[in-house]
Amino acid sequence: MNVHLKPSRRDILKGTGALVVAFSLTPPSEALAFVGDAAIGKPVALDQVDTFLAVDDKGLVTVYSGKVDLGTGIRIGIQQIVAEELDVPLANVSTIEGDTTLTPDQGPTFGSLSIQSGGMQIRQAAATARSALLDQAAQRLGVAKDDLTVADGIITAKSGGGRVTYAELIGGKNFSLKLDPAAPAKNPADYKIVGKPVPRRDIPEKLTGKFTYMQDFRLPGMLHGSVVRPPTLGATLQSVDENSVKDIPGFVKIVREGNFLAVVTETEWAAVRAAREIKASWSNSDTLPDQAKLWDHVRATKIVGNDVTSNIGDSAAAMAADGKKLKATYDFAIHTHGSIGPSCAVAEFKDGKLTCWSASQATHNLRKQLAQMMSMPLDDVRCIYVDGAGCYGRNGHEDAAGDATLLAKLVGKPVRVQWSRADEHGWDPKGPPTLIDMRANIDASGNITAWEGDFFIPQGAAGMVDLVAATLSNRPADNKLSPGGIVNDSAIGYKIPNIKTVCRRLETTPFRPSWIRAPGRMQNTFANESFLDEIAAAINVDPLELRVKYTDPADKRGLEVLDRLAKVAKWEKRPSPRKDATGNVVQGRGVSYVKYELVRTYVGLVADVEVDRTSGDVRVKKIYVVHDCGQIINPNGVRAQIEGNVIQTVSRTMKEEIMFDRGMITSLDWASYPILRFSELPELVIELIDRPTEKPWGAGEPTSALVSSAIANAIFDATGARVRSVPFKPEKVKAALRST
């Protein structure tokens, strides 16, 4: 069966009241013809209501979302927002996501912004639509607008009982309406759907094998492609033995352009085998630093810019004044995204136009990159999102899309590229190594008078990460570093009179960088919240109390988080380290706190750990989280995100580190890049603070920013030893224990 997987609005609407977006099983020609119709008059500009919403003649609502559900549950969240705002049954709302022809460019699905930013644009579109529909209804029923109520998409006049449905007013027609930023949104006191733990619709399908992932997507006549990776980064392809794979059943051809070498086959297994068995010779290339001296390398890398992220008072003068001087250096290893399903994409050229299906978190950006790589007009490229395995940032999905596109062009047929595990571990872009120097001065009364931080991080922002295929084939690319918004949370929110934090932007970094969950925020907060703990110990003060002391007294929400955290974790007020630890296995607890990016979601976190002083093994026993992201759309979704943040970051903190030699990454599988397993799972206690009348903020990242520092602080509490280098592998913990 060839499934042409593309959400077809017609099919969605056909499924009266169906809970799931139906995928069309129609052959591509019919599907594409339909899409052609849909594309006519379907705006994608951000200031149009029709960009985001359509109501059909049965009153069924389609949401067009630029933000995609990466397995986080934002799809149901956005549907709840729309159903609530329009007063239609939730079951009547379905979604099309991440299709560059049909959905707006609301920015990549990153940064904990899907609900906070994307969802709020859609809420405003719905509020505008509702208001316009009420205007029309008032006219039609001959009553005042404020005499109308809406339930289940039916508008009723309170006096006289006249009624009209959304379907009758707008069904199948465009709103042709500008999005009104001032359209009144519903009063949260009247919410019936937002704030409720409504179940996600994809989960039953995922539990029964019916869900179609990107990895399941097929086109008729499609071939399988696999890229043969250079053995080292920067190696040049010298020769290929064409005969080495020709006997593999299903082999079709070898494709080569520059250093882009690939095999194309009839079956997926043949592609796996051919990529493994092909004989090719490559030049030697030793471009990487000595991993044992990575941090010397980072420190020696040329600084091409200094971003001052906070400058309060006069930190230089305050540092020079008398007082107790503290300084510490922290480092955070290079991480991979580690998706369980390696990246996958399918590309097809038809009549000179490209369609590419992938699990990209940023199809509008991918479209630009594919057009650039293929030197095609943007209008001739369409990218369509299909759910894949979780990506947690910019992983390899876009690169697989680049591979598939180049191969589809070179072989003249649709091509599917399924990355291998080694492709994913070796060739997805990495979270860059981060080195941080902290300094502080403390006066005779124990007040922090100066705080300084230098963050050594690569240059660049959250732009577009160059496609591997473009680099290997020497096709056009931006040739810029795009590590993400990694300067965030280098500044701190604590009320210290003299603060200066500077991001030292490095010219290069060993691997192609990109963003991984809480990029920069995680590394920077690790240093800030560890260092604050070091200060607390130096002045013999309870670390949670110190955080309260330096939080703006006007920041009631922040103080409430800290207060509730102390209660839920049964925080015992005392300085660290504990004085009563005896024996070989010792327990400790550590705290960490952030107001994310200084302006949004508040999180407080306590970690309980157990340290084996002989082996250096650290067991994270229990994590407490208190979380205030304002208005909660779906508490199940928020809770799942917090659980994921904690577990994934315990893994990153305790275990994860890319290993490499002078030529290439050597940790190319799960044995050499281990992640957390069930036996290492901490117990979780999560307390959500719901504030229905506040703005909804992100929940996909903030908690993860706290995990590393809370664990480091807990290890210190247990042992008096300070670990300043992520991951906290036993040998590092033992070294820290030896130096205390």
Partner: protein
């Protein structure tokens, strides 16, 4: 070549070009069973897990020609009359999936445990689930789902 298999209670005959083809690709591409998924091809993550004669097995490293007349069960085979099995339903009720890519393997691994040990302790669950990886951090929800199925 033709290979006979017994999958989810049915006798199947599939045509394959390469005898080294792992069972995973035959299930997915010849039999259209998308429960088992490709995760590593190395038997390291569990996304491909199926039961072979009741034992949780990595289908990505098992050549289809080595299966013989043993009985293969996939995620789809845990359903009865098109309805999710008890453990599947417990995962649904607990919303124990985020991206869900690992979840078929998780269910197959957990089902193998419950078949032998209907009321496992937390410690038994953790030990048994050790081979399976999840990157979203769904582990605690998965633990809840397994326990829910155990007591239900």
């Amino acid at each position: 070549m033709k290979v006979s298999l017994h999958v989810n209670g049915k006798a199947e005959e599939v045509e394959i070009a390469d005898p080294s083809t792992p069972l995973l690709y035959v299930l997915r591409d010849n039999l259209q069973l998308h429960g088992p998924r490709f995760g590593c091809g190395l038997g390291q993550c569990g996304a491909c897990m199926v039961h072979i004669d009741g034992r949780a097995t990595f289908s990505c490293v098992m050549p289809v020609t080595a299966v013989g007349d043993r009985k293969v069960t996939t995620l789809e085979g845990l359903m009865t009359d098109g309805k999710p099995g008890k453990l599947q339903q417990a995962f649904i009720d607990e919303e124990a999936a985020q991206c869900g890519y690992c979840i078929s393997g998780m269910v197959m691994q957990a089902q193998a445990l419950l078949n032998k040990t209907p009321n496992p302790t937390d410690e038994q669950i953790r030990r048994h689930m050790e081979p399976n990886l999840c990157r979203c951090g769904t582990h605690v929800a998965i633990m809840r789902a397994i326990k829910r199925a155990a007591v239900a």
